[in-house]
Amino acid sequence: MRGKIGVLKGLMVACLMGTVLITFTLAGQSQEEIKWIKLWDEFGYTGATAAGPAMEKLVDAWMAKHPNIKITRSVLPAVLPMRTTIKLALTAGEAPDLFYTWPAAAVQSSFAKAGYLYDLTDAAKKYGWYERLPELSIDRNSYKGRLYGFPYEQEYMVVYYNKDLFKSLALKEPETYQEFLDQADRIKAAGYIPIAFGNKAQWSATNTLSVLLALTAGKKKEEQVLWGDARWDRPEFVDAVERFAYWADRGYFPMGFNGLGYDEANMLFFQQKAAMNVTGSWLMQDMVRETRGKFELGVFFLPSIYKDLPPSTMAGEGSEWNVWAKTRYPEEVIDFLAYLVSEENESIWITEGLLFPMADIDFSKYPDIHPVVRKMLEGGQKLRPNAVYDLHTTIPESVTFTLYSGLQAVSAKAITPEKFLKDMQKSWEESKELGEIWIP
């Protein structure tokens, strides 16, 4: 009996040693043969920037060409989760090797300043990125002259509308701002919600304000505030905020819009309860998919208000690609990034993800593109030279906090537009003292 127990013990020890040996051998082999790249992006299948199909295809294609490199991909929903999660990951030293996040300008600069981002300047020179990106986008993604991000989506604020509903109400695309207001009144009188708008997450109002600033202040006057010494409570800015408050007061938005989520508000448009949706081209994937078979989708840019200001809108670059400064495989990661953003792969992003890179698109190459998408991008590209900036992707986070809550207060008539902009000025000055303001 003792002998049998002894043999059993010996077998157990041998199995244990063998397991340990095999594990370390395999691990050793894995470390030598397989390189793991961690990737975080925002490309889901619904919601903002729903270019998931394109991203998945490109990741698979690149891995097929590089069998010794595996990419583990995590999709964080666009807007807020990525923005807060990536900061934690960077400061904790557990960041992904490559990530697609926002905003650029002030926030990205703070990451670059603290040494969390990999300098992409040499890669940009090698792959010709500087020739492909607009100058301002390069500025917004640089810190002290070095490039740290590659912005990858051209975005514009537009007005999507339900063409069928417009027809039934004998409405057409407005050619003037007053026509737009009159039509909104008629839509409301007919029992529909004029504009689908949900501001629970607080950033939606920022985009709406930005598009109004394009039409009351214009790019130059906005730049005087953002990079110069002009004040936030200048008359043109008050004008824009007053117009935003007017929309709210006039009942153009759904009831309780400050407690309604962005996706919930979009649903009102898809369910044909709302006639228009003033939001960005980042939603075009959902717009095309959700309206197919339900109603005919239309789009227009908000008409000019003043004759001395050129037609304009808000334009941005969506999110940008960044590489973690401490990535173990910088060459491989940059090679992968270069592949993702290469000109040869633009067609995949456009046709399969409805995502449009930062370059003038030749739509003759894409005859099957949805007409609304084409109209939106062609129009946006024409307006881009005079377009204003997306405020909350340009200003520091502390000022954005004041912007978000202030617009909720203004839309609920809790404070006046003047008070809101004075608060913005105060917040701006505090941020300036702390050196947080980004200037190109």
């Binding site: 923005r83 807060t84 900061k87 934690l88 960077l90 400061t91 703070s110 990451f111 300043k113 603290a114 040494g115 969390y116 501001n199 629970k200 997450a201 607080q202 759904p254 009831m255 309780g256 819009f257 400050n258 407690g259 309604l260 989520g261 919930e264 009102l268 309860k273 520091p396 986070e397 502390s398 954005t400 906090f401 978000y404 809550s405 202030g406 909720q408 207060a409 609920a412 809790a414 404070i415 947080e436």
Partner: protein, 288 residues
């Protein structure tokens, strides 16, 4: 020292080490951080002494947030605690299905606040939420509101959700202690002609004094530090109408890069919770 005396310390050592490493040390770190200026990203911090605390004294958003927490404390004591006490008193009597009722009341408490917030966000939805739809169906459409988006109703609406998840816990705690009260005391009171209200006031309340103090302390601490319900439903909006200290801290820490200032708020909040707890315990415990 004999082994017998030393051995118990070895058993409590892991728990103590856990407390020191994961609770005491972070608390000291947070307090220390509050004396610096740090954005959470820079490699170095700048010592600024008490400036963060001076700023806090003048910060209107902090004041509003704290007032919301104190309102929450008052409403939590007034509603779920009181309702829990009354329901427990009723269930402690000869009621059929007592266990079924107490289970049903407790179910909301086991739902995570994040889930509860999501569910109630849909119920409160101003367009297609159940509440407004029902109000319209029964001819009370004029009472339909934006609820979570209405500055006057947002905090109360949120508090109702919190109360809904919490009152069942109060019922259970009070019921379990009530069942230990000698029933002959109630019988004697009945013989002496005491009505139900008198029995509740003169027998039940004194008997549950310690439990009431415990639940009050527990509720106060919870009401001062809760976060998830606000974050999931309103993010502190509209324009800080549902902002509480923890949601403001979250925003300062993760969004605004005011890490040290958030640390000072955290320190002050800890002090407030500690002071209130000691006060309630001091006045609440029966002195012998």
């Amino acid at each position: 020292m004999s082994l017998r005396k030393i051995v118990p310390y070895f058993f409590i050592l892991p728990g103590f080490l856990y407390f020191v490493i994961f609770m005491l040390y972070p608390i000291f770190q947070t307090v220390s951080l509050s004396f610096y200026n740090w954005d959470g990203l820079a490699r170095t911090k700048q010592f600024i002494g008490l400036k963060n605390y001076l700023r806090l004294v003048q910060d209107p958003i902090f004041h509003v947030s704290l007032s919301h927490n104190l309102i929450w404390v008052a409403l939590t004591i007034a509603l779920p605690l009181l309702i829990g006490l009354i329901l427990a008193s009723i269930l402690a009597g000869k009621i059929k299905g007592r266990n079924v009722f107490s289970t049903i009341y407790f179910i909301p408490h086991i739902i995570a606040l994040v889930v509860a917030g999501t569910i109630w966000s849909w119920i409160y939805n101003p367009i297609f939420g159940l509440l407004n739809v029902v109000l319209k169906e029964i001819g009370l459409g004029h009472l339909a509101r934006g609820w979570l988006g209405d500055p006057q109703w947002a905090l109360i609406s949120l508090n109702m959700v919190g109360n809904w998840t919490y009152f069942g816990f109060c019922v259970l705690i009070f019921l379990s202690f009530l069942q230990s009260v000698d029933p002959t005391v109630y019988e004697a009171a009945v013989v002496d002609g005491a009505n139900s209200l008198q029995r509740f006031w003169h027998i039940t309340i004194p008997a549950l004094r310690g439990t009431i103090v415990f639940v009050t302390v527990y509720s106060t601490i919870g009401a001062l530090k809760f976060f998830d319900l606000v974050y999931i439903t309103t993010r502190g909006g509209p324009f800080h109408k549902t902002e509480v200290v923890s949601s403001y801290m979250f925003s300062l820490f993760l969004r605004q890069n005011r890490v040290s200032y958030a640390a000072s708020i955290s320190t002050v909040l800890t002090g407030i919770i500690f002071s209130l707890t000691v006060t309630i315990l001091y006045f609440g415990w029966e002195k012998k």
